[in-house]
Symmetry: C2
Subunit: 413 residues, 2 copies
């Protein structure tokens, strides 16, 4: 007897794996045979406040369909960057949302996103408790930054890490061909946490030492040490390849690009960094007067589905399935998390934690996972990262390009 109805939303920045979690939730809802409607909010909680949603069971009827969604990048349901106000600040939004929930007889609410989305889950579940609503609110983490607390790692990170490692390897081959002194600086996403930059170390093979140097936002950047590091590498080889986080900052906590004319802020007031690579490029050229190139990996880190990690997609799908089990088991106000059981062979388990103890906190690289010279990672961090990029996805191609899901519904109105 079908008696459940749920909402699923996606929020924050895109990753290649966020649709895999959506696919996992849909698949599990179908499998339980208890869901009459599985609604997708269009453009997250912001869209839902404006009554924008669609019934996903009308579209995702077959395993093939769901698998196609799992292998499509960005966000099928669209996103919002909207900080839900507190109930005290904006009671109308809460009342309007819960009126919609009541009309549609909603039993479960799944929200896939980063820190700001978990804040939304925490607020809604707290409000639900005060009005004694039985609806269960579950957060499913995603972020390429891997900076959420309480989970071993975040869905989406492994695929971004695989893109970074593969690109670093290919850039290293590209940089190997000339007999001249050259410095290549690869700027990688990561505002406060250097996980993705650290993943560039996975590019190292018996034929490739790059990245030769890695600079992370967890430790202060020092110009003199940086130039000295390069000088040391030049003693051994001609081509120096550097991985640097966009968010590195100096001893005073100043971002390197903070006075850049390209610095902007997002809706939450976070500075959107770009230009760290260019700043370092100039610094290196002034010192060494050699060929210098900076490469910003940019948004392809979070959307290059064609080189996604199979482990990441499978885990992201699985955590979606677990989210449905968790709410059906009666939990609410929790974020789904991974616990690592073992590195080699790699093994994880799914669990859930109180979201209000996690939201708005930031997981950065522990200092003991960064080498003493602050220009590389330790073996322990390498071992942590390694399992997350394993496995290659099989995607469909048509006319020479990947065949991704229909997102025409995001273009309306």
């Amino acid at each position: 007897m079908k008696k459940r109805n749920c909402f699923i939303g996606q929020s924050g920045g895109p990753t290649t794996a966020i649709n895999a979690s959506l696919a996992g939730i849909i698949a599990k809802c179908i499998e339980t045979q208890e869901f009459e409607h599985v609604y997708g909010m269009i453009n997250g909680i912001k869209g839902l406040i404006e009554h924008k949603y669609m019934d996903l069971l009308d579209i995702f009827k077959t395993e093939e369909n769901i698998n196609h969604l799992k292998h499509s990048p960005a966000m099928y349901l669209g996103s919002c960057r909207y900080k839900l106000p507190t109930y005290q600040e904006d009671p109308q939004s809460y009342e309007s949302l819960f009126r919609t929930f009541e009309e549609l007889e909603i039993t479960d609410f799944y929200y896939i996103g980063g820190n700001d989305s978990m804040d939304t889950v925490a607020k809604l579940s707290t409000y639900a408790a005060t009005i004694q609503s039985p609806i269960r609110f579950i957060g499913i983490p995603k972020t390429i930054d891997n900076d959420l607390m309480g989970t071993d790692h975040t869905p989406g990170f492994g695929s971004a890490a695989k893109y970074v490692a593969t690109s670093m390897l290919e850039i290293a081959y590209d940089s190997s061909i000339y007999k001249l002194n050259a410095v290549t600086i690869v700027e990688i996403m990561g505002r406060n946490a250097g996980w993705l930059t650290a993943a560039s170390a996975l590019a190292r093979t018996q034929y490739n030492e790059a990245p030769d140097l890695i600079y992370l936002p967890e430790v202060p950047f020092n110009k003199e040490s940086f130039l000295n590091d390069i000088r040391e590498v030049f003693k051994k080889k001609r081509s120096v390849i550097i991985a640097v986080s966009e968010g590195i900052r100096d001893e005073n906590g100043e971002f390197l690009d903070s006075d850049s004319k390209y610095a902007k802020r997002d809706a939450f007031g976070h500075i959107l960094h770009s230009g760290t690579g260019k700043v370092l490029e100039t610094m290196v050229y002034q010192e060494f007067k050699c060929k210098v190139r900076s490469i910003e990996l940019n948004v392809l880190q979070r959307c290059a589905m064609h080189i996604a990690s199979q482990v990441d997609l499978d885990e992201s799908f699985e955590i979606g399935r677990c989210a449905v089990e968790t709410s059906m088991a009666g939990k609410t106000g929790v974020m789904m998390v991974f616990n690592r059981v073992n590195n080699y062979p790699y093994e994880i388990s799914c669990d859930s934690k109180d979201v209000s103890s996690i939201a708005n906190l930031e997981q950065r690289i522990p200092i003991h996972w960064i080498n003493e010279a602050h220009n590389d990672i330790t073996q322990e961090l390498y071992d942590y990262l390694f399992p997350l990029i394993q496995g290659e996805v099989t995607i469909s191609y048509e006319n020479g390009i990947p065949q991704y899901a229909n997102i025409n519904h995001l273009k309306n109105d």
Copy 2:
């Protein structure tokens, strides 16, 4: 009875397909059973002048080995950016080179590269004729820019085009998620020829219209038209995605980034452009005050083997094989070319042309393949480009990253 010995060299900038041509030459040399030695110059003609070379038959003994080389990016033999002086300017280099040829009983010389490399082939074959040397000199084209004369297209272009089309598609998905006005500018390589930027049009599907606008260096860039074009697109949709060649210039022939502090020159005096996207980003922001992001695809266009075009790799391999047939048939001073027989179904043939009539010329997009508004390509150009990106390569992965050829020999000395 083995009686032939040859040199193979690679020169200019890397592509994902240049090792496929090297692999094709080696494979054909082995197949003929007439070659005793197949020497590879290390770092092109410059390395050869310094007596740097290796015997490739010591390494490439099996089909598997050769296939692995075919699927490795950048340049196995290393490169040089060295403009061979004329004989009159530098007789010593010519005499030294031909002394080496004589010592090693060289019969055939294969040089894989772009325009500057074809100039080297022309000069060496001309000199050979004046001293009545029987050595055959064959040029094998490669460039991601597709700007060589005399051939339907160049090896390496199709893979770069597939990378551009795939990245454009993934960026379009990434850009689709927010409900806000935004302009995304994708800067694509191509100094004087817009072929690679044009290939971004191959990203269009039933779910994706991007790129909405395409700007090519073959037609003058006009700021007012550009801003008007964006204004028109905004009437229909929120997210405007633009493909722009790094080499666009205004009505006075001025590059947009010519006064950029990042402008540099290569060994041939060509300006190395970067920053066109950033210049446009500022221009768009000042006019529309909306979210603007510029993305420079950078060197990954020419080294991302994991998303190479199977058609391109197969053709690049085949043109290497044809080069051996051509020199064995007695030709010299020629560049190998493709003739297109048909678009649908796609069919090409290999041929050769007098290299001195081709070298140093530049093939740009014919104006009638650009739309009247100068902001898109025609169907005819689409049909020309389409076959070149078809087919996906199968590469080996190890530890989550591609497994590419051993290039440790490039790191010596």
